[in-house]
């Protein structure tokens, strides 16, 4: 019976895949599902039926992920699809995103919650513009682990030289990626299954692990910030019952660092300090709390704390500023960025008004060149901007902390989400 209880120890890996149909991305995802027994018979039957209807000769594994009517009709992936599979070691969440340039915003969305980016390269084509774009976006979104799958090795007779060439080309370019700390290359054939789940006998020159083994074992436990204690207050718990009359708990998800009962904390923006009395998860008292745990914190002294406030340590405080410098990725198809317009900005649990004061430059996501001549940001554009907000924000650079370094902009009239930002 002990083996059955494995799940109580299992952890989670979130990864993003980007690529076009030609890269074999869907085939790879399908292969991972199939070989880990994550496709069920009724799903397989449904896509078999559907493949026949669409006139496909082979079972089209892309139909597993492309679920919307318009996607099936047009044979394209419109949106980020979230997919799930598990092995006895780990549960996986895949954010499967389309790779075309017009879908930059989807890649950004998928990458925002991922620990690892899986980038597919066609062994015959080598490193192309799209490869660089995917790597750039993964890096921009702070992904530390990148696995480059050199696919279609069967079509280059499992030779080592195309693989070596891609390693070299990608390596030259990867030195410009700031966040990525671990880069892994795996030669595979998604179609034939080489090095996907089992190590392939067709490539004895390759000494590394199979892709699945890598995904199962890559260590992401230290990716989150465990240094700078940050607790954005989400909700104040005040029971209206006699039993808990005096209870005041501050509910939230730890955004960084480690909190323990007895720790001295400072409340921002008031600046008052006190100590942590208890850290609670429902009726259980915890010895410590760190990202990404949701907990409730009670304090020794009664001080005024509300949603949007942040608990930090007195000797380690975030930036507190009304002027921001950030990379912005524009999402809206209907509106372009207009400097001077009032937008709504959400950062941690805080809502403020914001004005973009200046666009400093725009980044060409294919060449990674910065352009100061073209500063217009429309859908799928990425640029560096300065902003001024109506109240000071408590933030860290995105590079230091994804949770306290990220924000979104929304339209004040339509409420639409317009853009995503990363503090510099």
């Amino acid at each position: 019976m002990t083996e059955d209880k494995n799940y109580l120890e299992m952890d989670l890996l979130r990864f993003t895949t980007a690529g076009s149909v030609d890269d074999g991305k869907s085939t790879l995802v399908g292969r991972l599902f199939y070989d880990t027994k994550s496709i069920f018979e009724d799903q397989l039957e449904a896509i078999e039926r559907s493949s026949k209807q669409h006139g496909d000769e082979n079972v089209n594994l892309a139909l597993l992920t492309d679920g919307l009517r318009a996607e099936r009709e047009q044979g394209i992936t419109i949106d980020v699809a979230y997919r799930y599979f598990a092995t006895p070691k780990r549960k996986f969440i895949i954010a499967d995103t389309p790779g075309h340039i017009q879908y930059t915003r989807n890649m950004v969305t998928g990458a925002s919650t991922a620990n690892l980016a899986l980038i597919l390269v066609d062994a015959r084509k080598g490193v192309i513009e799209q490869t660089k774009r995917h790597a750039f976006i993964a890096d921009l979104l702070g992904i530390k682990h990148v696995a480059v799958c050199i696919n279609k090795m069967d079509l280059v007779d499992y030779e080592q030289s195309p693989y070596e060439q891609i390693l070299k080309d990608f390596g030259d370019f990867a030195s410009r990626l700031d966040h990525v700390t671990e880069l892994t290359f795996v030669p595979i054939s998604a179609l034939k299954g080489d090095n996907v789940v089992e190590r392939s006998e067709n490539m004895p020159w390759y000494k590394g692990p199979s892709l699945l083994y890598h995904l199962e074992t890559v260590y992401v436990g230290s990716d989150a910030n465990h240094v700078d204690a940050r607790f954005p207050v989400q909700w104040v718990i005040r029971p209206h019952s006699d039993e808990h009359h005096d209870f005041r708990g501050f509910a939230g998800r730890v955004a960084g660092g480690v909190f323990k009962p007895g720790d001295e904390v400072t409340v921002l923006p008031s600046g008052f300090s006190t100590r942590i009395k208890k850290i609670l998860m429902a009726d259980k008292e915890l010895e410590e709390a760190y990202n990404p745990l949701s907990v409730t914190i009670t304090l020794e002294d009664e001080i005024d704390v509300s949603r949007g406030d942040m608990l930090v340590k007195p000797n380690n405080q975030p930036n507190v500023d009304q002027n921001l410098d950030a990379m912005l990725c524009w999402f809206s198809s209907s509106k372009k960025l207009v400097a001077g317009t009032k937008y709504l900005l959400r950062h941690t649990s805080k809502d403020v008004q914001a004005i973009v004061t200046e666009v400093l430059y725009k980044v060409d996501v294919n060449t990674l060149r910065k352009s100061e001549d073209d500063r217009e940001l429309g859908m799928n554009d990425i640029g560096r901007v300065t902003l001024r907000v109506s109240q000071p924000l408590f933030f860290d650079t995105y590079r230091r902390n994804r949770n306290t370094g990220s924000f979104i902009l929304a339209d004040a009239f339509t409420n639409e989400t317009l853009a995503a930002g990363m503090m510099r």
């Binding site: 952890d11 679920g67 009517r69 099936r72 799930y84 230290s222 465990h226 990404p292 949701s294 409420n415």
Partner: protein, 301 residues
């Protein structure tokens, strides 16, 4: 070096609790859609944890097709009483009597689609601005692209091509008058996660989920239970079998599976070995390839 590992169930739990708290904070009058099925039970359990020792600040809304297994209603009433929350029931039967919904006719008639009408009427009557649903992305392909915070226009419609991008854990719940949100705290859970979490937290589930003897017969590949709503036709031969349910919905479209699994541990083992999804036993999803997408566009959960 100190390591900070968090198990997958803890991560999912923390994420869902975060979403539940965010819902309470961003909306004036959110409700929790409670069907008495395992997903809504787990969601309610998480809601209780998220706000403890206070009560969850949500009304519970049950959209009742009138075609329930009696066990579901018994369980619902007991559960709601234990949590001390307010239960609002929206009745499909009432909608039909008022003439706002029309009963399907034909051999496979079901009230499943009519739930959308009653749900939208209940939302309007009660003034709910957000409904928490137990939907999971692994359930069905149209759900794979659903957001945590899913915007609905004034007609309750879902526009899959115009969803708000959702990054990090920053949720945009802003909306115009008459609009509302469907919120899915369990988006990232799989069926297996639900069972494992129920086991870990020792969550009480309706007896229907565990092996029991019941009069069943086969129709269109599903094993349906004989009840006052589902009567076998000529040529359909009911027999007593040991079965359980993997999902609990409207009795007319929820199929049973033959099973001897009588505890959560056994259910977990059985689900791990299963080669068919839980929705494989639901005839409402098999009507067409885009059945779920179409229902969602009309305001379904």
């Amino acid at each position: 070096m100190r390591t900070y590992n968090v198990t997958h169930l803890n991560q999912l739990e923390s994420e869902s609790i975060y979403v539940l708290r965010e819902t309470a904070a961003q909306f004036e009058r959110p409700c929790l859609l409670f069907s008495g099925g395992k997903d809504s039970i787990v969601m309610a359990h998480l809601a209780a944890k998220a706000f403890a020792p206070a009560k969850a600040p949500f009304n519970f809304l049950h959209v009742d097709t009138g075609h329930n297994f009696p066990e579901t209603i018994e369980f619902r009433d007991r559960f709601v009483k234990k949590l001390g929350v307010q239960l609002v029931v929206g009745s499909v039967q009432d909608s039909i009597e008022r003439g706002t919904a029309q009963e399907e006719t034909g051999p496979d008639a079901s009230r499943n689609g009519l739930q959308s009408v009653t749900l939208l009427e209940s939302i309007e009557r009660e003034g709910f601005d957000a409904c928490l649903g137990g939907g999971r992305r692994d359930e069905e392909k149209a759900r794979a692209k659903e957001r945590f915070f899913s915007h609905r226009d004034a007609f309750g419609q879902w526009d899959p091509k115009n969803q708000r991008p959702e990054l990090w854990n920053l949720f945009n719940g802003r909306m115009g008058p008459g609009e509302n949100f469907r919120i899915f705290p369990l988006s990232n859970w799989t069926e297996m996660d639900i069972w494992q979490y129920a086991r870990l937290e020792e969550i009480d589930l309706p007896s229907l989920y565990f092996a029991h003897e019941r009069e069943v017969f086969e129709r269109n590949g599903s094993l349906l239970a004989v009840s006052e709503f589902v009567v076998p036709r000529d040529g359909e031969n009911p027999s007593k079998e040991t079965v359980r349910f993997r999902t609990i919905g409207d009795a007319t479209c929820t199929g049973a599976v033959r099973s001897k699994a009588s505890s959560l541990d056994e259910v977990i083992q059985e689900v791990a070995a299963s080669r068919v999804t839980e929705r494989g036993s639901r005839s409402d999803d098999r009507r067409s390839e885009a059945a779920m997408e179409d229902r969602k566009k009309q305001g379904y959960f």
